[in-house]
């Protein structure tokens, strides 16, 4: 498990770096799919196989197909040749490095809380993670679930209105 964790974290961080540094949008889209698969691997290590499958289905299967389709529709040779402002790049690197250092110190200085819930690995394995998620989703979280369906409906209408020829 330890080795798998290091392999997945190396793949995830490397492909995330490639996403933000590649010039061609299609290459970075493919690296982003690789990063999603590495994160799905993390979910499997963390005993949430249902979320791993959802990650691959929703992110790699639906969202990235949409992104690649839009890259295909837009003119790629036109998109490639933006040059970034060097000053902006410097400040961006500074901001993200300092932010990472702050989060790192915050995590390493903090005191770890004791586990509070009852869903240990053994219980999740015994009941099955899909059943637990389904029970929570349809009893305690039923209201956010319905709200999410309304949100998806609004998003369909919004995407249609934006992509229409005239407003």
């Amino acid at each position: 498990m330890e080795i798998l964790f290091y392999v997945f974290s190396f793949i995830a961080i490397f492909s995330a770096l490639m996403v933000v540094t590649m010039r061609n949008p299609l290459t970075s889209a493919l690296y982003l799919i690789l990063c999603f698969f590495a994160i799905a691997g993390f979910y499997i290590i963390l005993n949430m196989q249902f979320l791993a499958v959802m990650q691959i289905l929703v992110y790699a299967g639906a969202i990235m197909v949409l992104v690649v389709l839009v890259i295909m529709l837009l003119n790629l040779s036109d998109i490639k040749s933006f040059k970034s402002n060097l000053h902006q790049v410097f400040i961006g690197i500074l901001i993200s490095v300092i932010m990472f250092a702050e989060i790192f110190f915050y995590i390493s200085k903090g005191i770890q809380k004791k586990p509070v819930g009852i869903f240990t690995h053994a219980l999740i394995k015994k009941i099955g993670n899909t059943q637990i998620i389904g029970e929570f989703l349809f009893t305690k979280y039923i209201f956010p679930f319905e709200i999410a369906s309304i949100l998806l409906f609004v998003a369909i209408i919004g995407a249609y209105l934006f992509a229409k020829k005239k407003f």
Binding site: A16, I79, N129
Partner: protein, 97 residues
């Protein structure tokens, strides 16, 4: 748990770097997706450590919001490209004057 949180924060910072430095609308959108995924990984790691299930439920809702956001953002990208003929975000300056 700490290792997962450090990996998640590294991915989040890389995504923030992409949002701050790139000019391409599609790549900015993909960096946003990267940040969403880092937050999801943090949720799952913490709820695994605390033996809770709430974080895993929240990840599903984040995925729903990300899918809706993808549809709307790519619609905006197409409308912007139709208007300007490019997706360089520096060209989006009509509200400036």
């Amino acid at each position: 748990m700490n290792d997962y949180l450090i990996v998640a924060s590294a991915i989040f910072c890389i995504g923030a770097l992409g949002v701050l430095t790139r000019k391409n609308l599609i790549i900015i959108f993909m960096s946003l997706e990267l940040m969403f995924n880092a937050a999801n990984l943090g949720f799952v790691a913490v709820s695994d450590y605390l033996h809770l299930i709430n974080g895993d439920i929240f990840v599903i809702f984040v995925m729903v919001v990300a899918a809706a956001e993808a549809a709307v953002a790519l619609g905006i990208a197409i409308a912007f490209f139709r208007e300007k003929g490019t997706i360089d975000i520096d060209k989006a300056n009509e509200l400036k004057y």
